[in-house]
Symmetry: C2
């Protein structure tokens, strides 16, 4: 996979650069922006970051984060967006600085290349593209940049388990290791560490499991009072959405979170290799998403929600 030469040229010729990512930045967004920013600084560039300040504690581990949201200038040569699939899905300063060109670096299939310059390829993580750019620019990675890129790759591929993992993902992961590298504590932090309430919510979700159609369809439900008892909605870990797909018989699973009394958020997942597009189901509820991971909101009774969900899911499973 080659980096477009105009993207490299544009970056080389820019001195003042602003880096942006999507809201609620995940491991790929944080890892990509940290590695990119430090790499560009190593080339002597003036780099600023504007990032949603609501960073998950597990990702708040990079020294470079202390430079986020500091002294944003009125003007930049280039703005670079990372891991953002549309221009609306980018966090920007309230008073957006002026800039000459927009460079878009992203790995989402739906990205329509909204930049003046674009490096958009479907890869496991946006961090793969950042790695390729830094390599092309001749930047030597330091250990924080390696940890940042590993965070990006490992987060977005579910520790190399999702179907977006490719030969290139492992090739780049290999390049991040040296003789004494140990990414085990980082992996544990990204994928497994929880506080007591998060573990309790995980167990609650398992115990709430209901299954239908010989276990092909699974619902898990976290009621409002349970969520509140265990630290509130922000204390829910992402992996709870996947519990239903861990049931051996399941093809599709829904986590139903009661965010406020009778106001629900649903997360729908389908399991590889079954050919079930859950984004179509989410659309029926006014939501959206990807083929295997989608979401929507619902107001009403849990009984009505479950009934409608079953109907719509059965249409997609066929």
């Amino acid at each position: 996979m080659d980096v477009p030469s105009d993207v490299i040229k544009k970056i080389k010729n820019s001195n003042d650069i602003l880096l942006l990512v999507h809201p609620k930045p995940d491991g790929d967004a944080i890892g990509s922006i940290v590695a990119m920013g430090k790499g560009l600084k190593k080339l002597g560039k003036n780099v600023d970051y504007f990032v949603d300040s609501n960073i998950e504690p597990k990702l708040n581990i990079f020294d470079e984060i202390k430079y986020f949201n500091k002294d944003i200038q009125d003007h930049y040569n280039t703005v670079i967006t990372l891991d953002a699939s549309t221009p609306d899905y980018v966090v920007t300063p309230e008073n957006m600085p002026s800039y000459e060109d927009l460079v878009v670096i992203d790995h989402h299939k739906s990205n329509e290349k909204f930049g003046d310059y674009n490096f958009v390829e479907i890869t496991g993580a946006c961090g793969e593209l950042v790695y390729l750019i830094l390599k092309e620019l001749g930047v030597e990675l330091d250990s924080e940049m390696e940890e940042a890129l590993f965070t990006a790759l490992s987060s977005d591929t579910g520790s190399f388990q999702f179907s977006n993992t490719t030969k290139q993902t492992h090739e780049i992961a290999a390049e991040l290791y040296h003789k004494d590298t140990n990414f085990a504590p980082l992996s544990k932090r990204l994928h497994s560490l929880k506080n007591k309430d998060q573990l309790a919510l995980y167990a609650h979700a398992i115990n709430s499991m209901k299954s239908f159609d010989d276990g092909e369809i699974v619902f898990l439900e976290l009621p409002y009072d349970v969520i509140e008892e265990h630290g509130g909605i922000n204390n829910l870990t992402d992996d709870i959405s996947n519990i239903g797909t861990n049931l051996d018989s399941s093809k599709v699973s829904v986590l139903i979170k009661e965010q406020e009394p009778d106001k629900f958020r649903i997360s729908i997942r389908s399991k590889s290799p079954y050919d079930i597009d859950v984004s179509k189901v989410a659309v029926k509820f006014g939501g959206g998403g990807h083929f295997r991971a989608a979401g929507a909101s619902f107001e009403g009774s849990i009984e009505d929600l479950e009934k409608k969900l079953l109907e719509e899911l059965r249409k997609e499973i066929k």
Copy 2:
């Protein structure tokens, strides 16, 4: 990492080969023996397998397994042991065939090279060594061999998360991918899929959690009646032993399984990067194991067990 030339020469010059692994074969043992056996057959050799027939359902996915334990000959040129650290820790036929030479292929630190020819290197998985041998022998991998080697690597490294994962692990993983390779269903099968009872046991273990010393020491307990209610001891998944280390504050964790009334099996784990050798604790209970994963048995009351465990663990944490 180079394969010793005498090992390659010995294998090349052997026509009749018997392959052996350790009891209760795990993903690394099964993956290694399947890939090795099929690879040697591709070179025109006569290969037999003698394997503990108690193969976990999640690993019983290779067509080659149908040839296990069939028509064992009276004599072989060479016997190869895979993933076994000592000669005692190898499953053999009741009437062991005669053979000219023993080749030992293993990745355990404790292996004392008990073969006539040895390829013993500390790697993430024994499957890494098998890959290197097959490459050196010029064997072209078919898709089942690739899945077998991926099973070996992914199983023994906890999907590339454990501290035994290295640059080489990822380099070899990359070699197992082609354009349309999707190891996602296999990864899910190896690391996440559970039946309803296994999920219930997982939730039970979480809910049983007790912590001591500011959460540095964690105990989880599965009582006899709970285990029996959910399919018995063989229905427990390995990952239950790691739940305690997932608690953010923990340094060491013990899963206490009541296998029969008042007869306990303990699985002790310590977390990277903390310098806590749990094998020393296991030895105090007449058991043993590795630095970060050890086990032992105990008869008596759960109160006495917990008291003694706390005492011994506190000595190691210091």
